[in-house]
Chain length 144, copies 2
């Protein structure tokens, strides 16, 4: 497999690691600039494709743009907080019985790896409750 660990690729992976929220190509681009070296935006895109193909990162769709997250290799389902963007990983074992039921009842076989659940994380829920603004407009003050 042609995945030479060049300086740019190491930088891109570093920008993704230790980050529970997906990042867009542009955000990663800015992040690599923060460190020391500079990586072309084209290289960011090409490297992210390669990493996604290799299964090292998972791709998300946020608004009109794609975002990327360094995920564990073990199969899992994503829980995506629509307020703060936090992503949690849920082991397939936990969702298997549910998906088996869907399979039986709906003649449809779901794929946990592609079936992200969107909602609100506990931290954001509590923050909303604290602010109790009747408008419901949330602050982005989640922990993490």
């Amino acid at each position: 497999m042609g995945l030479v660990p060049t300086q740019q690729r190491v930088l891109i992976l570093a920008a993704l690691r230790d980050r529970e929220r997906p990042a867009s190509a542009l955000e990663i681009h800015q992040r690599t600039r923060l460190h020391n070296s500079r990586v072309g935006l084209t290289t960011i895109y090409r490297t992210l494709h390669a990493l996604a193909d290799a299964g090292l990162v998972h791709v998300f769709s946020r608004d009109g743009e794609l975002t990327y997250r360094h995920c564990r290799r073990e199969p899992h389902q994503h829980l995506v907080c629509g307020v703060c963007g936090l992503v949690l990983e849920r082991p397939v074992d936990a969702v298997a019985p549910w998906f088996a039921q869907v399979r039986a009842e709906a003649d449809f076989v779901p794929d946990p790896g592609r079936s992200d659940l969107y909602g609100t994380c506990g931290a954001c829920l509590r923050a909303q409750r604290r602010d109790h603004g009747p408008d419901g407009i949330p602050h982005d003050q989640c922990s993490g």
Copy 2:
């Protein structure tokens, strides 16, 4: 609410109705041309936004483009076939217990309306099994 049923909007809704697969703005544009009248692409986009805001259509993300589907008003979860694009609706009652479990176990509250399940519909599964191509490249021969 400012939703005047103009000729264009009626055409767009007609293009969406009786269609279990989401359609892109361009596909709807072509569909309206098939009938009799012509609707500008800009109007398609603007009308789709209005319909989505009104809750009459649901928005999906397919490859790099947005697609739209005329859905029931009752809350439901979508089952999306990644092979043929078919979308099934599953009543929230069926998924509520599972979401309650996620809430309890993961400190996360999923929203059924935004948590589409991706996988393969029964028809496409059987078609794949029939063709049993070792490559796994599927034909798009689902019923519907």
